[in-house]
């Protein structure tokens, strides 16, 4: 029980000290907190904290920068500016690059969408193709228009092919079980 009480006191004191430290960031310091006034440890801590706060604010060390610092920085910046101009005359800003990339992606998606059209679109396309092919000349009429010297050997080959197919079919039918 005693150990628990000690731990409890330690934790509550820690939290109150933490609050006292945080109160330094706020405009109003928690001087009016009665719990702090009742506890001598917290009261001492608060006094030390306020003294430390004053010393930290007033006792800032003076570090003198070298006199050549500014000229050195500006020389480096001038070189950097010249290097940036000479190395990349067509520099894109980051947002412009993003916009270009986005436009390419949108175009690719659009092309993909057109490639995968629904069935109604396909029907309309097939009608268009039928209209186009109807205007083409018929194959028989094309064949009739070919001279006899060219068409005779071809028709002879075709009749021979027909005969072979007919013989093969008769042979296969005869051999059926």
């Amino acid at each position: 029980m005693k150990l628990y009480q000690e731990n409890h006191n330690f934790m509550t004191n820690w939290l109150r000290k933490f609050k006292l430290s945080n109160a330094l960031h706020a405009a109003d310091h928690c001087e009016s907190d009665p719990r702090v006034a009742r506890n001598p440890e917290l009261e001492h801590f608060r006094d030390d904290l306020q003294r430390l706060d004053r010393e930290l604010a007033q006792g800032l060390p003076t570090v003198n920068a070298p006199a050549f610092l500014h000229s050195r920085i500006m020389n480096a910046l001038t070189k950097e500016q010249g290097r940036a101009r000479s190395s990349s005359p067509f520099t894109f800003s980051r947002s412009a690059a993003w916009q270009c990339g986005l436009a390419v992606v949108v175009a690719a998606l659009f092309a993909l969408l057109i490639g995968r059209q629904p069935a109604s679109h396909k029907d309309s396309n097939s009608q268009a193709i039928a209209t186009l092919t109807s205007s083409l000349p018929d194959s028989d009429s094309v064949f009739d228009s070919v001279p006899a010297a060219l068409s005779t050997p071809l028709s002879r080959e075709l009749s021979g092919l027909d005969r072979d197919v007919a013989n093969t079919s008769q042979y296969l039918l005869a051999n059926l079980p």
């Binding site: 430290s21 904290l49 006792g59 050195r72 920085i73």
Partner: protein
């Protein structure tokens, strides 16, 4: 006739448009502050000058990425801190600035007390005793007068973590102050005894 002083953010916006003159104004405003900040991290003047220069060159390169919603000071100090860490890593003197204690923190109490006598003010004491992150949080709070969100931005930590860092730093320093005070009180009679004996 008399040109009004422009805010840092307005100058940064002009610098984003490519004005080196506006950026030079920012350099004039911040070069000493950045130098003071990195001087403690680097430990010597030569490195501090180089890190300060690198910080401004990096800021100039990345000025297009500066978001006007945040304070320019916090953005610039963030770069400076990163440059300090980069330098540490490059030199491999300190692999991780967050974890390693200061050499003085390892000293025994008697040695610490003898050091304490040499400390001219509380900042030297802080430099010797506190870890890097706690010291930087204190410095940004008191020397740069930054608020908690800005310190959190520079140190890349949450606000609560910054509060804890400041609290630990203050607790450590108040303890040290108390110890020094007690030591001074206990030494006074010895000092006078010695003085009387000498006389």
């Amino acid at each position: 006739m008399f040109q009004e002083a422009q805010s840092d953010e307005a100058l940064a916006t002009q610098a984003q448009g490519g004005s080196l003159t506006a950026f030079e104004e920012l350099v004039l405003l911040y070069e000493k502050r950045i130098y003071r900040f990195v001087r403690d991290c680097c430990g010597n003047d030569t490195d501090a000058v180089e890190v300060t220069q690198d910080t401004f060159v990096k800021a100039f390169q990345a000025i297009a990425q500066f978001d006007g919603k945040h304070a320019f000071a916090a953005w610039l100090f963030t770069i400076a801190r990163r440059k300090c860490v980069d330098r540490y890593r490059a030199q491999r003197a300190l692999p991780d600035t967050e974890c390693l204690p200061k050499p003085a923190a390892c000293l025994d109490p008697s040695e610490t007390l003898s050091h304490a006598e040499e400390w001219q003010n509380v900042w030297e004491c802080a430099r010797e005793l506190l870890p890097e992150s706690q010291y930087q949080a204190l410095w940004l709070r008191y020397a740069e007068d930054m608020d908690l969100p800005q310190i959190a931005l520079v140190l890349r930590k949450t606000r609560t973590h910054v509060k804890v860092l400041l609290f630990r730093a203050r607790s450590r320093l108040t303890k040290e102050m108390r110890r020094n005070r007690n030591e001074a009180v206990s030494r006074k009679p010895q000092f006078y005894d010695k003085l009387v004996a000498q006389i």
